[in-house]
């Protein structure tokens, strides 16, 4: 039985474990129908031309983990931003771990999707927001919607700011030979609310993991959301991240994606500007090697006038790795005075590495500023010689140049401890000790 059939037939079993009378279940039933019709995307589709899910579909994934796993905090501490205090929403093999988590209902809600779906007090919010910005058409998103049951639920009311950053961490323990995870996150920032979120998926063994995640983010008027995705997983883990962001007047949402490892990583990052004076920022650093594959597909839909979007993605590809960047910008006819910027710069460190990069601009307004640029190159030999002539060995000199290349993406990271951590990850990735903390 292939993975699609297995998923479709598992839906019946899934229904036994959820409240089928809840309005959300109608959404799920609709979604499974869509997935059943469409199936997994194939390379024939333009958006999936360079990313194949064929290999993944041949793996016999467990869809529901059989037993709960316990993890000791000291064993997984390093995966948290433990230098500072944070709220934590932690899942182990897809199951909420109250032991590792630190949630709150003190003025803000930092808790679970399962609670939000089951408790009557959240019903109104679920009615208003759940599956409202996520695609009802994209097959992987609808697959997630069909099985949506658990994930992070964050609600920050008007004018509130949580006391500390929020970490959403998914561990997989390898209890199952191969595990499929489908977290579903709902994040709402009401007017003037602010928050910082760090998301991470971490496999702890070499068993196969396939995560198909959907996150909906709603940023109301003047809200400010910083979202950091740290993708530094094992080469047996694959991640498809579908993130949908709805922004209203004056809101600022920044998403940073750090893709440092995994077998296959696909980031579908979609911004919808449903208001004026909105700022949407997407930044990414990708550093991969071996046979790893990272695909960034971004979409910014400028629906209203006087908004901005900024995209800056840097990639360093070594060995046989492959990268994709596809940046789509749509500017509607009424979205005058739009400023949309997009930049994608890549360095191929090896002859066997490849990158496919493509801007995709659909502009229907006439008074806009849009710029895009992509580069693919090697390290600058003159710069390398400069560093070597100062006594810095070639390997370290190369690393320093690659660091310098990726650096400006880090400038906008607003959690200093996270910035230090990312810098260290980059130094590790580049395999050097540079004599100072980057």
């Amino acid at each position: 039985m292939d993975l699609k059939e297995k998923l479709v037939s598992s839906f019946l079993a899934f229904e036994n474990s959820v409240d089928v009378d809840h309005p959300v279940h109608d959404i799920r039933s609709e979604a499974i129908k869509n997935f059943e019709t469409k199936g997994f995307p194939t390379k024939k589709e333009e958006a999936w031309k360079y990313t194949s899910l064929n290999t993944l579909q041949k793996i016999d994934f467990s869809i529901f983990p059989k037993k709960e796993s316990m993890l000791e905090y000291r064993d997984v501490k390093k995966y948290f931003l433990h230098e500072i205090d944070t709220f934590k929403i932690v899942f182990v093999d897809g199951v909420y771990s109250s032991f590792l988590s630190e949630t709150t209902h003190d003025g803000v809600d930092v808790c679970l999707m399962s609670s939000a779906l089951n408790k009557p007090m959240y019903k109104q919010i679920i009615d208003v927001y759940f599956n409202k910005i996520a695609s009802k058409d994209d097959s992987l998103t609808t697959l997630n919607t069909a099985f949506s049951r658990e994930g992070a639920y964050i609600y920050i009311p008007k004018n509130k700011i949580p006391k500390k950053p929020i970490e959403i961490v998914h561990f997989s323990t390898g209890n199952e030979a191969a595990l499929l995870l489908q977290p579903r996150n709902l994040i709402i920032a009401e007017e003037n609310a602010e928050m910082q979120i760090i998301e991470r998926h971490q496999s702890l063994t070499a068993n196969e993991v396939f995560t198909n995640s959907v996150t909906e983010i709603f940023a109301a008027k003047n809200a400010n959301v910083d979202y950091y995705k740290v993708q530094n997983d094992l080469t047996t883990s694959s991640l498809i991240d579908n993130t949908y962001i709805d922004q209203k007047d004056g809101s600022v949402v920044k998403v940073h994606t750090f893709s440092f490892g995994g077998k296959l990583t696909r980031n579908n990052l979609n911004f919808y500007q449903n208001g004026e004076r909105i700022d949407s920022t997407m930044k990414g650093v990708t550093i991969i090697e071996e046979k790893q594959h990272v695909d960034h597909h971004t979409l910014v839909h400028h629906i209203q006038p006087n908004c901005e979007s900024h995209q800056d993605y840097k990639g360093i590809y070594g060995e046989n790795s492959t990268g994709v960047f596809n940046g789509k910008i749509i500017v509607d006819k009424i979205a005058q005075k739009t400023n949309a910027f997009q930049q994608n710069n890549n360095i191929l460190v090896s002859d066997k590495a490849t990158i496919n990069t493509k801007p995709q601009l659909e502009i229907f307004a006439d008074d806009v500023k849009c710029s895009h640029g992509c580069t693919i190159g090697q390290l600058d030999e003159e710069a390398l010689f400069y560093l070597q002539s100062r006594g810095i060995p070639k390997k370290e000199a190369r690393a320093l140049l690659m660091y310098a290349f990726a650096n400006n993406v880090l400038e906008s990271v607003r959690i200093p401890e996270l910035k230090v951590r990312i810098n260290k990850l980059i130094a590790n990735k580049l395999g050097v000790r540079l004599g100072f903390d980057l």
Binding site: Q388, S389, R390, G391, P393, E396, A404, G435
Partner: protein
């Protein structure tokens, strides 16, 4: 200190150095002058070990040691320093951190431990004061957004930090106003001793008023066509290079 014998070098199929002979002793300052395209910068880069240039004939010795097949970083560790005509920008790496890396890599190559942070700070303070470099400047990204003068001053600051045996200044005077030129030249003069040597590559005589050479060489078409004392530089300033070219033909 430095001995160059019949040095030929080329890039791809183009021969640029066509038999250079030069001896530089400790305590000396040599100026290399010549028209554009004569091979001045190539000579500097070849001494510093730039791999883009292929040495087809001849040798370069530093303190009696043949530098053939020696990487640029090893040459730096042995005491060669090249001040670049166009220093490279390294965003995200501060001047201070860059110097720490460079100094500690050199120490590592010599089997020494990292320089203690306290000593490093003291050294940085001392040398930056000598070159009238503002403290804030040191925490800026290396060369990023620096003016031409700031870049050159920063090159000499690096030279001061690394204390080379042989410093090659490649067109360090280009893009400098008179005040910056004076500061840079003073820095070089303070670093000069009986144990080290300096090669100044320049197009104009101006810098040589401040850094007074013991010898002046004229490079033309990949060869040293004339050598003399500092008076030769004045002669060149007056007459230009054309008369030299004619003399060579004859």
């Amino acid at each position: 200190m430095l001995k160059i014998n019949n040095l030929h070098a080329r890039v791809e199929d183009k021969e640029i150095l066509k038999g250079i002979n030069l001896t530089v002793n400790a305590g000396e300052v040599h100026a290399i002058m010549g028209p554009n395209g004569s091979g001045k910068s190539t000579l500097a880069a070849v001494i510093a070990g730039k791999e883009e240039f292929e040495v087809t004939e001849g040798e370069v010795f530093l303190e009696g040691e043949n530098l053939e097949d020696t990487s640029p970083e090893d040459r730096a560790h042995k005491g060669i320093f090249l001040s670049f005509q166009y220093p490279v920008e390294i965003p995200g790496v501060s001047v201070t951190n860059f110097m720490k890396t460079a100094i500690n890599e050199s120490r590592k190559a010599k089997g020494l431990e990292d320089m203690p942070a306290k000593d490093m700070l003291k050294l940085i303070r001392e040398k930056s004061e000598m070159l009238e470099i503002d403290r804030k400047f040191l925490s800026r990204s290396l060369n990023e957004g620096f003016s031409g003068g700031e870049k050159k001053r920063n090159e000499i600051f690096q030279m001061a930090m690394l204390e080379p045996k042989l410093a090659i200044l490649d067109e360090t005077d280009s893009g400098l106003d008179i005040d910056a030129l004076r500061i840079v030249a003073n820095g070089v003069n303070k670093l000069k001793s009986k144990d080290n040597a300096v090669i100044v590559i320049t197009h104009y005589q101006r810098l040589l008023e401040y850094i007074v050479p013991d010898f002046v060489h004229v490079l033309h078409n990949g060869k040293i066509v004339k050598s003399g004392t500092k008076d030769l530089a004045l002669e060149l300033e007056e007459k230009g290079y054309d008369w030299l070219k004619q003399e060579t033909v004859i």
